[in-house]
Symmetry: C2
Subunit: 410 residues, 2 copies
């Protein structure tokens, strides 16, 4: 049995034992820290999932190639420049970054993951980056202050930093496994990440010892049920990336599929879900986090397809901003998802309020409107066809969504 | 050779010979005419394409069933109530409407097409509808005034009426074939219409004589290249419908595939394209009509898939509202479309201005910005892989898009 003994958002990436990090200002964003290094003090297994967008940043190409070895020691991340659509020169810059980090930290360049977020199509200002790497390497540390600086340094259009720290006990292992995670993302959010190909960036550390293949399997599973189920605008970035380092500092070793692995996966999924929901909650212009639940589908794939179509529908998202219990828009979106359904069997709930069934149902519109004014709301569509279900997390479309994206000038 | 001898938007549905129409106020909208009858004075062949949304309004069910005979005499259309998600009672109301129109016009109910648009889930106020049918039947007429009233009566959130009238000559036929068309639609626009299953409503009349099977084939082809290639919000309505009546009053008869049929299809596609573009131009909150052109694809299906993904991308649509030549967003959308491309070969043009190629290209950003401030703009993405191409028509996302849809309360 798995027990989460502690979870908080005051700590993050260096919460698991054996990890240090540092954040400095390299001058890539207009203000604040914008360059981060994360280091495991011992060899670690690495796993990653990356964007499936065919315009992939060079950092994504670099990291997916590194995944072949399954080993990793360090993560470099900068905000302010995505180094995407920068051609061969951009790729060479990514390799130079890995080399510079390797030199500064005393590790091989092939153990250095590189992640970048920010403007597309502009060459990386390598002089600033190199100077930043050298300073960050000298300031590595652990604890709350470091975690907080890291969580802010990787932000771009994010309004709030997103991190989590959690510890788990299980009767399938001795001792305690810790997880730390940090992520960023607010717009261009609809991660569709596949191994080894995920501007949502997320870095998770754990002090469990897990072999690379098993670690990748666990991460792929967790990403599929968390980050790949959030959407802000349906637009999948060129730079999305979720990286996991497992360094074994806890003494807990998980080397094959069994109860300990199952508990590890459950814990990892929980950590990823906490972070993924924060990304949806902080979606550009969002006023609320929305959970779209599809029940009674014949297959999970069907349920997910409908959930995604509803979660991405502009008419649904604007109705949610207007706090309007407009079940017609939910049905419209469900009906166009390309999944065979039985329209006469479908019911819709907003919170606990049944707002639609075939024969028509009177409901308290004022109560439904009041429910939708909350910061977290849930919409449930039951297809009454089978036992499968799926959930997507999204946010509403507000005036600020238009403002942020129409006023942003290249 | 086909020659369009005249095209104008001052006339519409009764422009072809042998058609009359009437518009009255039945009291379904808050103001203005809201009920329309269109009648062919002789038997006509009918063709239609209907929404593929699984939540189909009862009017869609009724009309697709009528298509089996291929005959039609009349079209009823009301605005203000969609009679969708109204269950069996809603279907019975649709049948009663067909019967009432049949009685009032002296035609069989199975020759009466019914189209409804407006609020979802509210029972049709049959007393008002019946009274409206009787008055409209007594006021049938033809000419500009009638056409204009019809074009306004079917509007819901539309800001402008949309109609077209055109006459064509061809060396494949003797005489002149006329077309008249009227349509409505502003939101919930991403028609995905298939025969015999398209709240875009469009009615087209022609005085050519074309057999029902050939007419359906022509309409399916034309819809696939026009109405099915526009999008406002990517949301496919429960009520979309495109109907075509061909009554033969011109004396021009087209009974098999050959040069005359080819010219007829070309003419029909031109009429549909004129109307479809008006729908995209009048999209909710739109400030401009945007043409997304994908060139150099391996197949037309690939080109269309990319064009649709770009045309529906919220980040693309907000950038267009901001008049921002943000080629990164165009590439992002093209890259997530699920079509295999060669990123290094892709080029992007905004109007005639090359804004992206792999090696980077300096361009006049002020000029590109100025170009995007126009009311009609074109974005061209060349994949450089093959010879196939496709075009989608869309509009931008403005503050008004949010206002219209968040302030709309059920």
């Amino acid at each position: 049995m798995l027990t989460e003994t502690d979870q908080n958002s005051a700590e993050g990436i260096t919460f698991p034992r054996g990890f240090r990090a540092g954040a400095v200002r390299a001058g890539l964003k207009t203000e604040g820290d914008d360059l981060v290094l994360i280091l495991s003090d011992r060899p670690a297994a690495a796993a990653g999932v990356f964007t499936t967008n065919q315009f992939r940043a060079s950092s994504v190409d670099w990291c997916s190639q590194l995944m072949k070895s399954g080993d990793g020691r360090a993560i470099f991340c900068n905000a302010g420049n995505a180094n995407a659509c920068t051609g061969v020169p951009g790729l060479l810059d990514t390799v130079r970054i890995a080399e510079a980090v390797g030199r500064a930290l005393g590790v091989d360049r092939n153990e250095v993951f590189v992640a970048s977020t920010g403007i597309i199509g502009v060459p990386m200002p390598m002089e600033k980056v190199n100077a930043g790497i050298d300073r960050a390497a000298k300031e590595l540390g652990s604890g709350r202050d470091v975690d907080n600086r890291v969580s802010r340094a990787i932000m771009t259009t994010d309004l709030v930093p997103k991190q989590t720290a959690a510890r788990f006990q299980s009767d399938a292992w001795d001792g305690e496994v810790r997880f730390g995670g940090v992520c960023k993302g607010s717009g261009m959010i609809a991660p569709a990440m596949a191994p080894p190909h995920a501007t949502m960036l997320c870095f998770v550390t754990t002090d469990a010892s897990v072999g690379p293949d098993l670690l990748q399997k666990a991460l792929t599973h967790a990403a599929g049920r968390t980050f790949n189920r959030i959407t802000v605008d349906g637009d999948t970035s060129t730079n999305d990336m979720l990286l996991l380092l497992a360094n074994g500092a806890s003494g807990v070793s998980i080397q094959d599929e069994g109860p300990a692995y199952e508990d590890f996966v459950t814990a990892l999924e929980q950590v990823c879900l906490t972070l993924a929901k924060e990304v949806a909650r902080d979606g550009e212009g969002a006023t609320k986090l929305v959970e779209i639940v599809i029940l009674g589908a014949e297959t999970e794939a069907d349920a997910l397809k409908i959930a995604r179509t509803v979660a991405e529908s502009p008419l649904v998202k604007t109705a949610l901003y207007g706090c309007d219990p407009n079940w017609g828009r939910f049905l419209m979106a469900a009906g166009r998802a390309g999944v065979q359904i039985e329209p006469s069997e479908v019911t819709v709930k907003i919170g606990d309020i049944l707002v639609f069934q075939e024969k028509g149902v009177p409901f308290d519109e004022a109560a439904a409107h009041a429910y939708l004014r909350q910061k977290e709301v849930r919409v449930e569509i039951d297809l009454s066809m089978g036992e499968a279900s799926a959930t997507m997390w999204t946010c509403d479309y507000s005036y600020d969504y238009i403002k942020i994206n129409a006023d942003y000038h290249t």
